[in-house]
Amino acid sequence: MNVLELKRVSKSYGSFLAVDDVSLTIEKGAILSLLGPSGCGKTTTLRMIAGFTAPNSGSVIINGSDVGHLKPYDRNVGLVFQDYALFPHMTVFQNVAYGMKYRGIAASEIPARVARMLGLVRLGSMEGRYPRELSGGQQQRVALARALATDPQVVLLDEPLSALDAKLRLELRLELKEILRSVEATTIVVTHDQEEALSLGDEVVVMRDGRIAQRGSPTAIYNDPADRFVAEFVGRSNWFNAGNWRDAANGFVNYESVAGISICGQAKPNTSGKVDLCIRPENIDVLAAGEPATMDENTMPGTVVDVAPLGADVHIVIDIDHGPRVLAIQKSGSQRTSFGVGQSVRIGFSPADVLVF
């Protein structure tokens, strides 16, 4: 059953259309990531669900009833702000208990419930502390506990991990997911961080210029992006502009790219004019000058510009002869990482890995 539904929602500020005819549904207990660059309308969408911004048209439906006319405090929507917005003059206990009394939970039940919420976010011993006495990660968890404390119908997280440093972000991301799963919270995570979106969401909605560019599973968004924008925004990508194409067999065609480089890729139904070819860096093999390529692979010669060993992966930047600069990501430990800067190499990639837009 859909807990939340947005029906053709639009919001404009003056002549600026922040959210343009967005429709969206989310099932009970699912986590949906709303991903997009700043200004794409994701935060406005979130604020319309919370009730802080009124849509110009369309409706916001929670559990079957239109909440468009309801004030934020009359909707049961939990909100975790980017800066947490913990009440600085209240202890952790008071912060978490704050919503309970206004949502009709008996006073006698509150202490036990607060303890349960703090246990859930593993802050059981912190209830007497003030927010300023907590680390960023702890504040984040208090904010989550406070939002979940009132048993909201929908939980909205606005860039929940962006204020934390990289290492903590990874830890908390998993914890956040576990907590949200354990309480079966129907959740929307708004983020501009693609990794956060892909790892947290059961489904990802990519937004651009107030519209939904693509909705799909994290794998589908990455492997089968709807357009160049999504492909560029989610993950890293190498691009070749191509024009003419020649027939080839088995659903593949040869595209003429810059400087006479021919690239074989999947045929697009309407590849009549110019196309953009995208190859993910992990799908590129770096071959030594004399090394033979796998059959059918696209190959092109180039020169190594940089080799960066980043732990599990090695990032190799290569200037294609008379072509663009590409990034290839190789697993550490494979023999395809021992290249020196300035070395002549070839890159190879399978036609099946060429995304055509």
Binding site: A50, G51, F52, K71, P72, Y73, N76, V77, G78, L79, F81, D83, A85, L86, F87, P88, H89, Y98, G99, Y102, R103, Y130, R146, A147, T150
Partner: protein, 282 residues
């Protein structure tokens, strides 16, 4: 350590000036307050014996009434100033456009520069016994010569300054407040009004207390406002000090009243600050 010492030296000129211009005259006034006064003389005689007489006479109910009235009217105007200034300041810092905000701040600062006397006479012209409201008030049976009406006029006079001043201070306080806090409160089921009571006001306690103290200090030291609007029937302590020094030439008495005023002020600031610290846990 050495650097600290050198930095301390830089404070010397300012410190010396401060002591010379501010502390020294106050100390001399303090000493004068303990001198014996001979009626008919101007000030105390050089080397007059020390006495507590000037302080003892302040215990007379008449004097206590001066103090009580000064504090009471200042208190009322300070509270009214907060009640009026807070919502306006909130509106300006949260709801208005930048242009409106700039405009209001410009006008408010302008109001503060307006001469005291102009404002006082403006009130007299409006609400005084010959003012435009006089016929209406008389028709309503309000006596314009009653003490209560004079109190009203004086409070109005004090508000002329304290409302704009309070607004400017509170705009700063409210702008420092994270607007997300109020949204967080509302998303947790608390009405907008209740959220202000729970969140906005406790977090603005510091600003509200500053406003209260500045209004109070301004009020209890007011001179021209009670002098003119009080029509000689209602006087503040400042007027009393003036008459001691200038009309009766009883310098020791005037000095003693001043010293008491300073002590009362310090006590008030201490108590209010303590209360504010207890209330403000942020």
């Amino acid at each position: 350590m050495k650097a600290d010492k050198n930095q301390g030296i830089l404070l010397l000129p300012a410190g010396a000036l401060f002591i010379f211009l501010l502390a020294l005259p106050l100390v001399l006034a303090g000493v004068e307050s303990f001198r014996e006064f001979t009626p008919g003389r101007i000030g105390s005689v050089g080397g007059a014996p020390l006495t507590l007489a000037s302080y003892a006479e302040l215990l007379h109910p008449v004097y206590i009434q001066y103090f009580a009235l000064t504090y009471a009217l200042s208190f009322i105007s300070s509270i009214v100033a907060i009640l009026v200034a807070f919502p306006i300041a909130y509106y300006i810092s949260r709801r208005s456009t930048p242009t409106v905000r700039k405009g209001v701040i410009f006008i408010t600062v302008g109001l503060l520069f307006l001469s005291h006397l102009v404002r006082i006479y403006a009130i007299e012209l409006t609400f005084g016994s010959t003012g435009m409201f006089a016929p209406l008030l008389t028709a309503l049976g309000i006596s314009m010569n009653s003490r209560e009406y004079i109190y009203f006029m004086i409070v109005a006079g004090l508000l002329q300054y304290s409302i704009p001043m309070s607004m400017l201070i509170l705009i700063g306080t409210i702008q420092n407040l994270n607007p997300r806090l109020l949204e967080a409160s509302q998303s947790l089921g608390t009405s907008a009004f209740r959220s202000h009571v729970n969140i906005t006001i406790p977090l603005c306690v510091r600003g509200i207390v500053s406003v209260f103290l500045v209004s109070m200090t301004m009020g209890i030291s007011a001179f021209a406002i009670p002098w003119i609007l009080g029509r000689g029937r209602v006087l503040f302590v400042s007027n009393l000090i003036y008459s001691r020094f200038n009309e009766v030439a009883n310098f020791p008495s005037g000095a003693a009243i001043s010293v008491i005023m300073i002590i009362l002020c310090v006590v008030m600031i201490y108590i209010v600050s303590r209360v504010a610290t207890l209330a403000d846990r942020s």
